[in-house]
């Protein structure tokens, strides 16, 4: 049973070797002459002027979570819409049930003001 996985193991090993090999070859064979201009942090051509670890508003997080939720809903709706003829009335009502549960959550977040940015 495990021998079926041998190609995958080989693939992993070769992939790893290629990745490491290219970097290692560049590191060993290439010239290595650093100066202050070369080692300076580089940000789209501008001078780096602040730390990249910023505090940001927790509301981005909330919006991101809500986005994922409804994004997945859409992703789930597409195959259902394509296969609606095959899944029939049962599939239709099963999806209505699923959407109904999501609507409950949606009403809750709306009422709680999670969608308001002020």
């Amino acid at each position: 049973m495990l021998e079926n996985y041998l190609p995958i193991l080989l693939f992993l090993l070769i992939g790893f070797a290629v990745g490491v090999g290219a970097l290692a070859a560049g590191f060993i064979l290439g010239p290595h002459r650093p100066n202050s201009e070369k080692t300076a942090p580089y940000e789209c051509g501008f001078e780096a002027f602040e730390d990249s670890r910023l505090k940001f508003d927790v509301r981005y997080y909330l919006v991101a979570i809500l986005f994922i939720l409804f994004d997945l809903e859409i992703a789930f709706l597409f195959p259902w819409g394509v296969a609606l003829k095959q899944v029939g009335a049962f599939g239709f009502w099963a999806m209505v049930l699923f959407l109904g549960i999501l609507v409950v959550g949606f009403v809750y977040e709306w009422k709680k003001g999670a969608l308001e940015w002020e």
Binding site: M1, F90, G91, W93, I101, V104, V107, Y108, K111
Partner: protein
Amino acid sequence: MTFAMLKLAAASPEVLVLVGACAILMVDVFRTQEKNTKKGAEGAVLTYWLSLILLFLGAFVTFLGFGKHTGLALNGYFLKDSLGDLLKLFIYLAAFVTFVYSRDYLRERGLLTGEFFVLALFSVLGMLVLVSASSFLTVFLGLELMSLPLYALIALDRDSATASEAAMKYFVMGAIATGMLLYGMSMLYGATGSLDLGKVSEAVRHGDQKHIVLVFGLVFMVVGVAFKLGAVPFHMWLPDVYQGSPTPVTLFLSAAPKLAAFAMLLRLFMGALEPLAVEWQQMLAILAVLSMAVGNVIAVSQTNLKRMLGYSAIAHVGFLFLGMLATNPQGYSAALFYMITYSLMSLASFGVILLLSRLGFEADRVEDCKGLGERSPWFAAVMAVVMLSMAGVPPFLGFWAKWEVLRTAVDAGHVSLALVAVAFSVIGAWYYLRVIWFMYFEKAQDTAPLVPTVGMGVLLSANALALLYLGLFPSSLMAVCVLVMGAH
């Protein structure tokens, strides 16, 4: 595929709880728009009563359908049997008792919001699904639906640093446990080609697979389940979570999810992996001894009552595993009896802590019990009953639970393990009895009068009296446990 083929009648309690919890969420969100106002608090009280009614209705429907429509439903993903029905009844009971005990504590601290009840109800729904799982998928679904609301519940008091820490710890540990469990499931799925617990069991019994793959999967499943139940060496989260959570959440956490996690243990090991019993027996034996040793010994040195009860929970899990070791229906029913007993005792013990607490004062140190015998002789007696029952002193219920587990262990030939269990129980008796000593033989430091609400006073008394009554007449509960295991 039609709706009739789903046999939804078997899952009617789950459907009821789902619809009810959604409806309660809607009622709550439309009633309590103004936060921290009088109207808002009234709305949460309405949510409280609706939640109690929903739990009662759920228990009623489960009771009416007890042992009926048994068999597989929902395309074979859902198993309805009387074992599940019994555990579900106690899950409703635990949640109901939790709500009643918690109400005053939450109101005093401004935590009485609809979210507490709705999250707990969704967690209860997850437990119901987990109890009736008959496929790895349903096990996973139920487990996650049970755990996710719990993480949020622990962090309910979001200004409390300890609660946030506890929630974070529980979340990370819970994620690791789930990952372990899933990895084990994927191994077994790979080896047997099925997610259905019955088919997995059949495939393992025929033994066409590489034994090593099965055992590999089994190890990960044992780790996952041990994490959830808090057995040593996977117990590190448990004392911190017990101590850090708001006490009502600790109360909820200590009873209902344990019943569901125990159901998961039974479904996976008694159900799907019974043919591998020889292997998991050894693993559970090690976990049982370690849990009893570490739980009981470390609990002795605790000064925080909630933390002490956390270590005591670890020790009780050790006893639970001891019951599983016999791998026969007697052993399983003894473990079931032990789990139900533990949940009743745990409810009462945290109930007393909630009773002693008030705004600005958490009665979570063992010293806070000092002088309770003078302040309130009745509730001191309640606490004494609970502690004696936990220590396993006759004639209380805890004695019979320990007795049954030890008896089946000895019958199955695990005499040395039984002796170890007795030795650690004796050590364990020390810290339970210390609480009683504090209550009756020490001066009170805290002299504020105790004024429980009627509902809490009555229910807490009934809870302790049940421990005494069932201890005097244990045969009915024991017979039910044997019946549901035999009928399986």
